[in-house]
């Protein structure tokens, strides 16, 4: 009897075949906007190095309806990305104190506290 194993190909639409894969792809998509906002910050630094006129033009663009829409979009996606990542942190960073596991909610909560603290420092630094 001869062997002839049959190999089924993965379809391009594999990620549409289960909600868990759709959620994963949405999360992957959000990282694109996080990356785009990082690029925006890099451009901002570049414009700052080119003098006040360049910087003022950059700020004017940010303040335009298109600029504000883009930043709001990035904020929504970055928030989704952060919240879903924080929810996963107990898996990636489990802690044990004196042989006892630290509850996941404490690890997740610590991330939110750190997020709030860093945001507060940035806002205070920006003079708001």
């Amino acid at each position: 009897m001869s062997r002839r194993p049959y190999i089924r190909k993965v379809e391009r639409s594999w990620w549409l075949q289960h909600p868990r894969y759709v959620h994963y792809m949405i999360r992957e998509l959000t990282s694109l906007f996080v990356g785009l906002y990082c690029a925006l910050l890099a451009v901002g630094l570049l414009r700052l190095s080119q003098g006040s006129a360049a910087w003022d033009g950059f700020v004017a663009n940010l303040s335009s309806p298109l600029g504000i829409s883009f930043q709001l979009l990035c904020l929504v996606f970055a928030t989704y990305h952060s919240v879903t990542w924080f929810a996963l942190t107990p898996k990636a960073m489990p802690l044990q104190v004196k042989d006892e596991p630290v509850p996941g909610i404490v690890i997740v909560g610590a991330h939110y506290v750190a997020w709030a603290a860093v945001s507060a420092v940035v806002l205070i630094g920006a003079g708001m």
Binding site: R3, R4, R8, V10, H18, R20, Y21, Y24, K91, D99
Partner: protein, 247 residues
Amino acid sequence: MSEVIMLEVLRYHPETDSEPYFQPYTVPYQDDWVVLDALNHIKEHLDATLSYRWSCHMAVCGSCGMTINGEPKLSCHTFLRDYRGGVIRVEPLDHFPIERDLVIVMDSFMDKLGSVKPWLIPREDKPLAAGEHLQSPGELDTFHQYTQCINCLLCYAACPQVGLNEDFVGPAALALAHRYNLDSRDGGKDARAETVASNEGIWECTFVGACSEVCPKQVDPAAAIQQTKISASVDWLKDLLTPRGHR
């Protein structure tokens, strides 16, 4: 007439079939039957040519993993009552070649499993006279869940990265490597790193998390892999800062 339930089973006989096809079977419905019972009924009463793996019928041996209505499951752990009134579609596990009907070829997994050296590599040779390698309950807790893996391969079927890159070492093997790396008696982390910390190892994982969702033994391979990523990154940084070896 007593109640029945319909199964559609993927069939493939390499001697006669150019590709797999679904074959319908009608079997008696029993409240306490699992899908494996229905397959056994088909084999014994309707069609003796149906091939599938099974052994213990109690979610211990890990032999009877199949795709049931699109979800990787142990067929001995999946009750007909959860599909009452519908059709149950039974296929082999995804991402593995089909040997025959519901039987997959798992050679690639066996190779990957061996490649991560899933055994204790003692930190130092210790004569028998020196006594046991002691371990506290807390040290055991750090890796205990990963010892529960039964190699059923549901996690490989659920992982899209396994389907997209056949060289990916995959969830179960990487979780088992992590189990030994965490063991206080083990000193084999560096020996495993060549495979575990390679591109085809932990870095191929994109944290879909499906492996952990489908695991019938509540092992968490996704967590194991993310923890190994952190550990491997720290080791890489230590190597960079102290080139002469920190360990």
